[in-house]
Symmetry: C2
Subunit: 124 residues, 2 copies
DNA sequence: ATCATTGTATTAAGTTAATAATACATTGTA
DNA sequence: TACAATGTATTATTAACTTAATACAATGAT
């Protein structure tokens, strides 16, 4: 997954969303070490300050923990991780249904559109 | 539908999205007159300049047309309107599936979650 | 012990968004 | 004709975001 950032939203907010997703989907496992601020910033081609801001936000919610000079790790609280995953999915679903309804699609049409569809399946 | 604007995205971009949705869903019918810049700005509690910027964007795409001193109207090109609706829905679906896949849900799980769901249906 | 790496903090600069306060030309209408 | 309402333009100010360039304390490894 490449670090593609849109310009119509604050970068740090996009970093937060991306990192959250990577944590709850197991890219960074519970208790696992995260790359350093500088390293991730370089990978994502953003300023270290911006990545730091994103990390601070994740820290605030308890999803990651700082070990001062030895980097950061993902929480080992798998219940919290699962809950976060559930919340993120809930947000996606709710927003999606709302927007599709605003566009004039009802539930059965939406499900039909999704069922017909090819291509978005998980790769590798 | 209230004018609820999030702070984590440029307001004018949210106005564009909302107005597009209202046009393609028939809130503002083809050839119909739109409220004035000042009026809509007041309704949405934003600065007239911000609403003007949103209108300018919609104008650029051809969805609305300016009649100088007598306001603006929605295009009568229903093909364009339908195409826009299709594009907006396509974006929603594509983004939704991508994000849900990133969260670790496959297609069948997604459809199941949507099918179980109550509440997002169109009201009135 | 030394040193590279870690998180963290600070200061400065530049950009964009949003608001505010006006102003102007044009046109439909009273 | 006079006037209100239209889109449009301008200038200024404020705030948020991002980048840049450093700097410092703490720690793990050599």
């Amino acid at each position: 997954m490449a670090w593609i950032l849109q310009s119509d939203r604050p970068i740090y907010a996009q970093l937060v969303e991306r990192l959250k997703t990577e944590i709850v989907s197991g890219v960074y496992p519970p208790g696992g070490r995260l790359p350093s601020v500088r390293e991730l910033a370089a990978t994502a081609s953003v300023n270290p300050n911006t990545m730091q801001k994103a990390f601070a936000e994740l820290e605030r919610t308890g999803l990651i923990i700082t070990m001062r000079t030895s980097g950061r790790i993902v929480t080992e609280d798998t219940a919290m991780i699962n809950e976060t995953r559930r919340e993120l999915a809930e947000e996606q679903i709710s927003q999606f249904l709302t927007q599709m309804n605003n566009l004039g699609f009802d539930r059965s049409e939406i499900i039909e559109l999704l069922s017909e569809r090819k291509g978005e399946d998980v790769h590798e």
